[in-house]
């Protein structure tokens, strides 16, 4: 034992003095700090374009006023010109005639289909009264909107209140133009859809803007859905149900724009339906349409429990802090993996090439002890590196985002949700990641021992690490062979398998597209993956062991 510990100590001394340790340590620190800083920048930028100052609003009001005056002046001049061109005998016929005359000024427009406002055909925009009217209406919209925002002291162009104010101003501006003396028939037809329900809609909008309550906003949105043209009754019904559910879940409207909440609600609904009907409803599953097994039932009820927990606690959408710390940990793991792989791939071969292996062989230590000491030092270094990544990522998150919004990991047993605190969960996750990294490390160590060439072992190891999962992902997405489950890379997502509930939350997040591509392999149980990896590690280790202990040096 004493000799083994001496061997281990020597290995750690040797490795700690290698340049790669220093280089990777610096890279790790820079990576984590840079990631945190960039994420923080993105977070603060995200609101940049959506906030105005009081001066901005005042200026926009003035601009809109000025433009409106200019448009009205232009319209008046055009009307006067026409008035002057009307025969004196016609002048006494009044405003209606003038309107008729104005019609002739307008350029010809195509007839638009009244029932589908989305397919509106715009008249010829060049130098037409219609164009001026549209311009006037646009500026009136701006004017009303910014005036209301000023009244309300609202500076943000995000939020449901802004949306309500914007729509209110739009409808008011259309009404103003439609009731004006300058309006054309074409304009009225063009805005027919909006004018149709304008009064009722404005009533609801006025209430929402007045009260600033999310419930009133939702009432308007429900009206909007019900009066929307071109959608089926079924879609209307679903839309209304979703709005009502959202109001129930989020009475303050904090997540009113959050699409992931909508997706999650849909997911819960689908899973509940599957449980009720007792049939697999996952279209991606090869068992789609078949009766649920007991295990599948349990899994569904657990997933529903986890999703409900996320909705109840408002944790259905990962924050920038969470995404940033995920990135920090992923990049950190990658750096640690590269470091330990490079160390492993030169562990035996470099000593043989330089001749320093002689002092080890001459020492009174059996070869198997030397082998185990070398492997143990790599394992310890990797473990130390992972712990440093964990601490650094936590520190990075603390510095840039704080830990107050750190979300615990939620899992479920027998349909009941449980949590693991964020700090502990991230450590466990990284430790499981480390096990998969060890697969590459043992592979590199085996190559180093068998080939006795640092160049060959490093090249192959790095190539396998960098390209193995990519090539496998391509194969998985192109073919569906049963034998694919024996490719080692399809079992290296152990952390995702063991912490599978995390993916439920991330599934709707665009950031997880990569995860979906890389985890689209054959579905195998966690136990199978663990046993497979254990067998692989043992086999590679044994090959290396046999080569080191029984070959001449």
């Amino acid at each position: 034992m004493r000799r083994f510990l001496a061997l281990l100590q020597n290995e750690l001394i040797k490795t700690s003095k290698r340049k790669i340790i220093i280089i990777m340590s610096i890279l790790l620190a820079v990576t984590i700090l840079l990631t945190g800083w960039l994420a923080k920048l993105a977070q603060s930028d995200s609101g940049y374009y959506w906030y105005l100052t009081e001066e901005d609003i005042e200026q926009r009001i003035n601009n809109a006023k000025s433009n409106c005056e200019h448009m009205e002046k232009q319209l008046k001049e055009e009307a006067k010109q026409k008035q002057d061109s009307i025969e004196p005998s016609e002048k006494h016929k009044g405003d209606d005639t003038q309107k008729e005359v104005l019609k002739t000024i307008a350029a010809p427009v195509s007839k638009m289909p009244a029932e589908d406002s989305a397919d509106k055909v715009m008249p010829d925009m060049e130098k037409s009264t219609f164009n001026v009217l549209m311009e006037w209406q646009y500026n009136l919209n701006e004017l009303y909107m910014y005036q209301t925002m000023k009244e309300k002291g609202l500076l943000s162009m995000e939020g449901y209140l802004y949306e309500a104010i914007n729509q209110q101003a739009y409808l008011q501006s259309i009404k103003t133009v439609a009731k004006s003396e300058y309006v054309l028939e074409e304009y009225t037809q063009y805005c027919e859809y909006e004018l149709k329900n304008a009064e009722q809609e404005l009533t609801l909008l006025d209430t929402a803007v007045q009260s600033e309550k999310y419930a009133d906003y939702v009432a308007w949105k429900i009206f909007d859905v019900k009066t929307m043209a071109g959608i089926s009754e079924e879609d209307i019904k679903r839309g209304v149900e979703e709005l009502e559910l959202r109001l129930k879940i989020d009475p303050e409207g904090n997540y009113y724009r959050d699409y992931s909440l909508t997706e999650m609600l849909n997911t819960i609904t689908t899973k509940k339906n599957a449980l009720e009907e007792g049939v697999v409803k996952d279209s991606a599953s090869i068992r789609y349409g078949q009766k649920l097994t007991k295990g599948e039932r349990e899994k569904l009820s657990n997933e529903i429990a986890v999703l409900n927990h996320a909705i109840e606690n408002g944790t259905f959408d990962p924050t920038i802090g969470e995404i940033a710390s995920d990135f920090m940990m992923s990049l950190g793991c990658m750096l640690i993996a590269l470091t330990v792989i490079i160390l492993a791939s030169s562990s035996v071969s470099q000593e043989m090439a330089t001749g320093s292996i002689k002092s080890l062989i001459i020492a009174p230590c059996k070869r198997w002890k030397i082998f185990i000491a070398k492997l143990s030092s790599l394992v310890m270094l990797g473990l130390g590196g992972i712990v440093i990544v964990w601490l650094s990522a936590l520190l990075g998150r603390l510095i840039f985002f704080g830990l107050s919004d750190a979300v615990p990991y939620v899992y479920a047993v027998s349909g009941k949700a449980h949590t693991i605190p964020y700090v502990l969960y991230t450590l466990f996750y990284l430790l499981v990641e480390y096990v998969t990294i060890m697969g590459y490390v043992v592979f590199a160590f085996m190559l180093s021992t068998v080939t006795r060439s640092t160049a060959v072992s490093t090249g192959i190891s790095i190539g396998v690490y960098g390209g193995g999962r990519l090539v496998t992902a391509i194969m998985n997405n192109m073919v569906k062979w049963e034998m694919l489950k024996f490719i080692p890379f399809n079992h290296l997502n152990l952390s995702d398998k063991l912490f599978s509930y995390r993916n439920l939350i991330l599934t709707n997040n665009d950031m997880n597209i990569l995860n979906m591509v890389f985890n689209n392999g054959p579905v195998t149980g966690t136990l199978f993956s663990v046993l497979y990896l254990a067998t692989l590690l043992f086999t590679m280790g044994w090959i290396a062991f046999d080569s080191f202990t029984r070959r001449d040096i």
């Binding site: 001394i13 001749g355 320093s356 059996k366 001449d552």
Partner: protein, 308 residues
């Protein structure tokens, strides 16, 4: 009687089909310096590597300090120290750290002892520097210190004088002599420097084509391989030949204007001097010609190469 510290018994080794070590047996005793000689490819380094654990013998036993390496490898190897080919250390560590690491493996990490060894090999000024900055001679010195860090009972050195300057070679010779003759260590040295070996070794073993040809004290080897005694007389050899006439004609090996070489023993010297003196030859010097180790080696190995 000296104890056998290293016993090699019926060792055999194949590299593929080539039988490189053929039933080799030898002993190195405590308190002596054993020279291991042989031409290139004879099997010296292969034998040493098997003793040191680099190669696995196909058959045979190795006993170090009485312990069979098959039965107690670590116990046996604890008594042995050595340098095989060039000493190689960890280049990005200092010489001192290398010594400490090796001592740690032996459980003999003692700063004072390491300091003494460093002083002994003359590396005190540079021991804290990284090994990559050392010359070959410095590495050799530190290698010797490393081999001695655990006070081994058997010391094996393969080409130890490589890279050393003349003073370094003498120092090494003195160290080895001290270790062997004062401390009772069994020292085995493999080298091509025959002149050095002749000065250093008590016994030599000569190997050729994997076969051990002889193992004996140097003097016995020289006497055994010397086919005849030669008396070298510094005189006009041609005149001396005439003077000595028919009686000695067959025994004259060479004659020129400076010397004559005659196959004769010590007892013949007075007779020769008298005869030549009577014949008027002027004698400037007389010596008995001794066979060198190089000549003995070459005779034994039948012209094997690689002699420095």
């Amino acid at each position: 009687m000296r104890e056998s510290m290293l016993v090699i018994s019926h060792l055999n080794k194949h590299f593929g089909k080539r039988h490189v070590i053929k039933d080799l047996s030898l002993e190195a005793k405590g308190g002596e310096i054993f020279g291991f000689l042989g031409p290139n490819g004879a099997g010296k380094t292969t034998t040493i590597k098997m003793v040191m654990g680099f190669l696995f013998p196909d058959s045979g036993d190795i006993y170090i300090n009485g312990i069979n390496t098959k039965n107690d490898y670590e116990g046996a190897m604890a008594s042995i120290g050595g340098i095989v080919e060039n000493p190689e250390m960890y280049k990005n560590l200092s010489g001192r750290t290398n010594l400490e690491m090796y001592a740690r493996l032996h459980g003999t990490l003692d700063d004072k002892h390491i300091d003494e060894l460093v002083e002994m090999v003359g590396m005190k000024a540079r021991i804290q520097d990284k090994v990559r900055t050392y010359s070959l001679g410095m590495k050799q010195r530190v290698g010797v210190a490393q081999a001695l860090v655990h006070n081994p009972r058997v010391l094996i050195l393969d080409e130890p004088t490589n890279g050393l300057d003349p003073s370094g070679i003498k120092e090494l010779r003195d160290i080895l002599s001290y270790l062997a003759h004062e401390k009772g260590v069994s020292v085995m040295v493999s080298s091509h420097q025959l002149a050095e070996m002749a000065l250093m070794c008590d016994r030599v073993g000569i190997i050729s084509n994997g076969v051990l040809l002889s193992v004996e004290p140097i003097q016995e080897l020289l006497e055994r391989t010397q086919s005849e005694n030669i008396v070298d007389i510094k005189t006009d050899g041609n005149k001396a030949k005439e003077i000595l006439g028919e009686t000695w004609a067959e025994k004259v090996r060479s004659a020129n204007e400076k010397e004559i070489r005659i196959a004769a023993g010590k007892g013949d010297i007075p007779v020769l001097i008298q005869a030549l003196g009577a014949g008027g030859a002027e004698i400037y010097g007389i010596s008995e010609e001794k066979l060198t180790l190089e000549e003995a080696y070459l005779r034994l190995t039948e012209g094997g190469g690689g002699i420095a």
